[in-house]
């Protein structure tokens, strides 16, 4: 017993010394995804408006180049959960499709688990899983159980192994009640859970989730997020997530890449992002009687109605404690201080960083 405790103590000390020296990350974490100067350009048909334009399009078809992805570079560590987000048309789906071997890049290099997706798409398919929230991969007339057996065979897993895996996943994702009900009769939440299970049947090392919680109610969203988190924790699965739902990003990912107009505009940790961009606080106060609000630099009155007021405090200009001192504390009935929602931060990054890039992209087309 004493020896065991001593061994555990030594192991803890060893790990602690490695972490403190910053060795663990450098030595043991491999990159699951490596992208260098990745580019993709589409040729899109252009047509003038009206009947005349339609006739001209037949006689003299006109096409334009759209640079969907422009020399994007990033890496994703094994076991990392990354949010890859951007406004519509930013190039995120095109990037995912190049990472999964669906689209061929025009330039640059991609490696997923050391495999080139464009050249070895089928080999890569054995190692990755994909869930596209807006596309069904399950056969709707079959039951989830038959679907899982189907996917087991597709991934060359033996029948015994498939059965074992279905048992494990059905328990973890609580599918017992509806595993033998045809997919077409399932609710959206149940279907999405089954979609995720179908993509996990072959124990993928990297899971691409494209809007996995779209259309789900808050309770089911939360359940899907906790299952993804659990899977990442227990199996060290690398998660590559795209979503417009800030809740997905905030609750799942530690790192965020924002793309706009085909380029990366931000690649940062969530913690760092919040630290850098959360220098504004929202102060909501309810006064006992209507009073004049402070007119000080760094404090902006967003809304005032009767005894209720909403202020924005820029902590880069004025400390929050100084800002609070400006309010008559004795007259305050209730007060609430909160951060600017992450959604607003991301929206501001889209607007600020994307504006220049969109202009550049516009100049580059044609």
């Amino acid at each position: 017993m004493g020896d065991t405790l001593r061994c555990m103590e030594q192991a803890v000390l060893f790990c602690h010394s490695r972490v403190s020296k910053g060795l663990v990350r450098e030595e043991s974490v491999m990159q699951a995804i490596r992208v260098e100067a990745l580019s993709k350009t589409f040729r899109v048909r252009r047509k003038e408006k009206g009947l005349r334009g339609s006739v001209q399009a037949i006689l003299r078809p006109r096409t334009e180049e759209v640079r969907a992805v422009r020399e994007v570079s990033f890496g994703v560590d094994e076991g990392e959960m990354l949010a890859f987000i951007g406004p519509n048309g930013a190039g995120k789906s095109t990037t995912i499709k190049m990472l999964t071997g669906i689209l061929y890049p025009d330039g640059g290099r991609v490696e997923v688990l050391g495999i080139d997706p464009a050249k070895q798409r089928r080999q890569l398919a054995y190692q990755i899983g994909t869930v596209f929230g807006q596309k069904e991969q399950l056969w709707t007339h079959l039951t989830p159980y038959d679907n899982f057996r189907f996917f087991g065979a597709i991934y060359d897993i033996t029948e015994n192994e498939t059965e074992k895996r279905i048992g494990e996943l059905a328990e973890r994702f609580e599918l017992g009640e509806f595993i033998n009900t045809p997919v077409r009769n399932l609710s959206l939440g149940q279907r999405i859970r089954c979609e995720i299970v179908a993509s996990l049947i072959h124990k993928p090392q990297v899971l691409f989730l494209d809007e996995p919680t779209i259309g789900l109610d808050p309770v089911v969203k939360e359940s899907v997020r906790s299952l993804v988190k659990q899977m990442n924790r227990e199996c060290n699965t690398t998660i590559f997530l795209t979503s417009h739902d800030v809740g997905d990003i905030e609750k799942l990912c530690k790192r965020i890449i924002i793309v706009n107009a085909g380029q990366i505009v931000l690649d940062d940790s969530m913690e760092h992002l919040k630290y850098h961009y959360l220098h504004k606080k929202i102060v909501e106060v309810k006064m006992q009687e209507e009073t004049a609000l402070p007119q000080v630099e760094g404090i902006t009155v967003l809304k005032q109605k009767g005894t209720n007021a909403r202020l924005e405090v820029d902590t880069a200009v004025i400390a929050i404690s100084d800002a609070l001192r400006q309010i008559n504390a004795e007259a305050v009935e209730d007060i609430n201080i909160s951060n600017v929602p992450l959604e607003n931060i991301i929206m501001n990054i889209y607007k600020a960083e994307g504006k220049d890039l969109t202009e550049q992209a516009g100049n580059g087309q044609g």
């Binding site: 789906s93 061929y104 080999q123 398919a125 190692q127 597709i154 060359d156 897993i157």
Partner: protein, 282 residues
């Protein structure tokens, strides 16, 4: 399962010929799905019956004397020929394959089918085989009943020849599907491949399905024998109404050649076309 283990499984699968298991499972899944719709398929019986009834009346009118031959066919042989080609037409619904490939490519759904460890074209073929495995026996049963009641048995029919006929029909259906897939894969380059498919369908329908090749002038016959009409519809139907071992070997050899060349072309077009893939919305 680690990456190495999975690779090992995959390689072993290939070595043991187990890589076809996934296509068998696709086939079985479609079969299970289609069996739920057997009643819907039976609704197509009415169309088949009307079509055959019109042709029985037409050939009744054309053959004015008993024992008369037209282009070497007796009245019974002529009607059974049309019944067999129409059975393959109704029982296979091959245009559905072409429609699916076209819809997959134009709608972008192909993107979600491509990232699975199977070959897309073989996936489509396996699905199609699952579909006709339910439809064709149903239409074959109907054809035998209608033919026996309204026309009488196939002249000089021998039960021993049935396996060769079945192989010939299956090969004909598969070649047709492969060629339909080839045409639909053109959607990678052009907006709509429907006009090409329409031409191909009408060629099969008018020349090979409704009339046997012998009806046409000798020079046209020689040309048509080089086209897919021969392995897809004329060959199998001819074998049923006028079986001969030499003819059987000839048709099977042509079918084997067509299948090999068709599959080669299908893989080639797919490999080239997939690089042209543009998925709407990314």
């Amino acid at each position: 399962m680690s990456g190495q283990e999975k690779n090992a499984v995959s390689k072993t699968g290939v070595l043991n010929g187990k890589k076809w298991r996934k296509y068998r499972v696709i086939y079985r899944s479609v079969l299970m799905e289609n069996l739920q719709y057997a009643a819907n398929i039976a609704l197509g019986f009415f169309g088949y019956f009307v079509f055959i009834f019109i042709f029985i009346k037409l050939w009744d009118y054309m053959y004015q004397e008993p024992g008369e031959l037209i282009a070497g066919y007796s009245k019974e042989q002529m009607i059974w020929y049309v019944m067999m080609t129409e059975m393959m037409w109704f029982g296979s619904n091959a245009s559905a394959v072409a429609r699916q490939v076209k819809t997959d490519i134009r709608g972008g759904n192909i993107a979600y089918l491509m990232n699975k460890p199977y070959h897309y074209t073989l996936y489509i073929l396996a699905k199609y085989t699952g579909e006709w495995s339910v439809r064709l026996p149903m239409f074959a049963g109907l054809a035998v009943v209608i033919g026996t009641v309204l026309v009488g048995p196939v002249p000089a029919f021998k039960i021993i020849t049935v396996p060769a006929m079945v192989v010939c029909i299956i090969l004909g259906l598969t070649i047709n599907a492969v060629l339909q897939i080839c045409i639909s894969l053109l959607s990678f380059w052009i907006e709509d491949a429907t006009p090409f498919r329409w031409l191909y369908d009408k060629l099969l329908l008018v020349v090979g399905t409704i009339f046997p090749l012998e009806i046409f002038p000798r020079t046209a016959q020689a040309f048509f024998k080089l086209t897919p009409i021969y392995p897809v519809c004329y060959g199998p139907a001819k074998l049923i109404v006028d079986f001969g071992p030499e003819k059987c070997i000839e048709i099977l050899a042509v079918q084997a050649l067509y299948l090999a060349a068709g599959c080669g072309l299908m893989f080639f077009i797919y490999r080239k076309g997939v690089k042209k893939l543009y998925v709407n919305g990314g």
